[in-house]
C-alpha cells in the first residue's frame, strides 16, 4: 500500500496515516504479517517529521492493528479482539443505523441498499469465522 499525506486536510497527519492503515487492512491490501515501512523510511518518503509517523504507529499498535518487533520493524498484526462480541455488535449497529439514516434521506429503497451492500462487500477482507474474542 502507499501512504499519503495531505496538509490541506482538516485531519491531522498522524490521524490520516492511521486511517489509511486501517482502511488498507480492512480492504485486504495489507495482510497479517506484512511489513510496514520503518518510521524513518516513511518519514523520508512523505516528507514529514519522524515523530508524526511514530505517533501514528504507536496508536495503531495500541489499537492492535500492528505489532512492532524490536529491531525488525512494524508488521500487520493478526486480528484479535479485546471486546466481547456483544460490545462489538453494539458498536457496529450504531454505525449501521447511521448508514440507514443517510440511505433513507438520500431516497434509496431497502432493496437498493441491500444490493449495494452485496456488491461492496467483495472489496473488503472479512474474517471467515466472525472474529474470535472473549
Amino acid at each position: 500500500m502507499q501512504f499519503q499525506c495531505d496538509t490541506t486536510s482538516r485531519t491531522p497527519i498522524y490521524r490520516q496515516l492511521i486511517d489509511q492503515a486501517r482502511t488498507a487492512v480492512a480492504r485486504g491490501q495489507l495482510r497479517p504479517g506484512d511489513r510496514l515501512p520503518s518510521v524513518r523510511q516513511l518519514s523520508r518518503e512523505l516528507v514529514v517529521n519522524p515523530n508524526t509517523v511514530a505517533r501514528a504507529y504507536t496508536e495503531l499498535e495500541r489499537e492492535g492493528v500492528l505489532v512492532t518487533q524490536q529491531g525488525r520493524g512494524a508488521f500487520v498484526a493478526e486480528p484479535q479482539q479485546d471486546l466481547t462480541k456483544k460490545a462489538r455488535r453494539k458498536q457496529l449497529l450504531e454505525k449501521l443505523d447511521e448508514l440507514f439514516v443517510e440511505a433513507v434521506h438520500l431516497g434509496f429503497s431497502a432493496d437498493e441498499l441491500l444490493a449495494m451492500v452485496q456488491d461492496r462487500i467483495k472489496q473488503f477482507a472479512f474474517t471467515a469465522t466472525g472474529g474470535n474474542g472473549p
Binding site: 499525506c5 496538509t7 490541506t8 486536510s9 482538516r10 485531519t11 491531522p12 497527519i13 498522524y14 490521524r15 492511521i18 486511517d19 486501517r22 524513518r40 518519514s43 523520508r44 512523505l46 516528507v47 514529514v48 517529521n49 519522524p50 515523530n51 508524526t52 505517533r55 496508536e59 489499537e63
Partner: protein, 316 residues
C-alpha cells in the same frame, strides 16, 4: 531535556514600537520548532537577537547553555544560521564559497557538501551570481549543515522557492532531523510545510509569544463554531477563549481556543437552534487565531502531557 534555546524577558524597541515584548522562548534539544507569525510580528528581530546581530534593550538569550553576548567560538561553531533570502557573496563561485566558509570551522563534513551538490546537480565552478533562488537555497543549506551543527536557525528558508525546490529543501530538512539530537528553529509562512516538519510551534502576535505548544495541539484546540438562531443572532458575546466573532443575520460565527465543556455550556446558554463545531487545518487555525483582536487574544501554552489525551479522543 536541556534547553538549546532559552530567552528570558527578551525585549527590543524600534523607536517607540516594542517589536519583541518580554519573550520567554524555550526550545529543547531535538525539537523542530516552527516559529510563526504575520509579517512584523517580531520573528526576524528575535532570530537576529539570538544570533547577536541585534542587541536587545533588555532581557537575555542563551544558545546551547551560553549567553549570546559571550558565545565562545567553539560554541558558535555548533550553531548554523540561514538568513532570510539566502545571502551569499555573489562574486564567488560555489567552490570558493565552500572553501571560504570551511576556513571558519574546525569540523567540516566535505562528503556531505559533495553529496548535496551532486544531488542538486550543482558544480563548484558555477558563479553564485548566476544561480536561481532555489539553487542559492541549496548552496546555503549545504554550507550550513557541513559543520554538522547541533542547532540550526533558519529564517524563512523556503521564501521565494518554487514548489519543487521547496519540497527538495524540506526533504533535506527531514534528513537533518533524522540525525539524532539536532535542534531546528525555523520561521515560515507556509503552514503546510510547518505541519509536515515541526513538532512544536510558537506564534508571535505583536511581539508577544501567544502560542507555544505541540503543532497538533494548536490546530486541534482552535475551533470554529457556527450557531444558528431562530431570530437575529446576538451581536456581542463574551466567552472564555474567544478569539473572533461575526454575526450574519441569524448566524453567529465564533472562533474559540481550547474548546471544552465550560465553553460548550456558555454557548448553549445563548439558546441557538443548532451548534456546528468545525475542525480547522493548521493554516485555517493560524489565520483565525492571528486575525483576532490582538489585545484580548488568549494566551495559549499547554504542555505535551495534555496533548496526547486530547488527540487520542478522536480515535474511531
Amino acid at each position: 531535556m536541556t534547553d538549546v534555546i532559552c530567552t528570558t524577558r527578551l525585549t527590543k524597541h524600534y523607536g517607540t514600537n516594542r517589536v519583541v515584548n518580554c519573550l520567554d522562548l524555550r526550545v529543547k534539544q531535538g525539537q523542530v520548532y516552527g516559529f510563526l507569525g504575520r509579517n512584523g510580528a517580531g520573528k526576524s528581530t528575535t532570530i537576529k537577537m539570538l544570533l547577536g546581530m541585534v542587541r536587545p534593550d533588555s532581557g537575555s538569550a542563551a544558545l546551547l547553555g551560553e549567553s549570546v553576548d559571550s558565545l565562545r567560538p567553539q560554541t558558535r561553531e555548533r550553531i548554523a544560521y540561514i538568513a532570510e533570502g539566502h545571502p551569499l557573496y555573489n562574486w564567488m563561485t560555489v567552490g570558493e564559497a565552500i572553501r571560504f566558509t570551511c576556513s571558519f570551522y574546525t569540523q567540516w563534513n566535505g562528503t556531505l557538501v559533495e553529496q548535496i551538490l551532486d544531488h542538486f546537480e550543482l558544480s563548484p565552478r558555477q558563479k553564485l551570481r548566476r544561480l536561481s533562488n532555489g539553487q542559492r537555497a541549496q548552496v546555503s543549506l549545504a554550507l550550513a549543515v557541513a559543520p554538522e551543527p547541533e542547532l540550526l536557525i533558519l529564517d524563512d528558508p523556503t521564501l521565494g522557492l518554487d514548489t519543487v525546490v521547496r519540497r527538495d529543501f524540506l526533504e533535506s530538512l527531514i534528513q537533518i532531523i533524522h540525525r539524532k539530537g539536532r535542534t531546528i528553529l525555523f520561521s515560515s509562512h507556509i503552514l503546510g510545510d510547518v505541519e509536515r516538519v515541526a513538532d512544536r510551534i510558537g506564534v508571535m502576535v505583536g511581539g508577544v509569544l501567544r502560542v507555544d505548544c505541540p503543532t497538533d495541539h494548536f490546530r486541534e484546540s482552535v475551533k470554529k463554531l457556527v450557531l444558528d438562531f431562530p431570530g437575529p443572532a446576538p451581536e456581542e458575546v463574551e466567552c472564555k477563549g474567544l478569539v473572533n466573532q461575526w454575526t450574519r443575520g441569524s448566524q453567529l460565527e465564533l472562533v474559540l481556543v481550547g474548546y471544552d465543556e465550560e465553553q460548550r455550556s456558555a454557548v448553549e446558554s445563548l439558546e441557538p437552534r443548532s451548534i456546528q463545531v468545525i475542525d480547522l487545518n493548521l493554516e485555517e487555525a493560524f489565520i483565525e487565531y492571528t486575525r483576532g483582536r490582538k489585545r484580548s487574544l488568549p494566551l495559549f501554552a499547554q504542555e505535551e502531557s495534555h496533548d496526547s489525551s486530547v488527540g487520542d479522543q478522536g480515535a474511531a
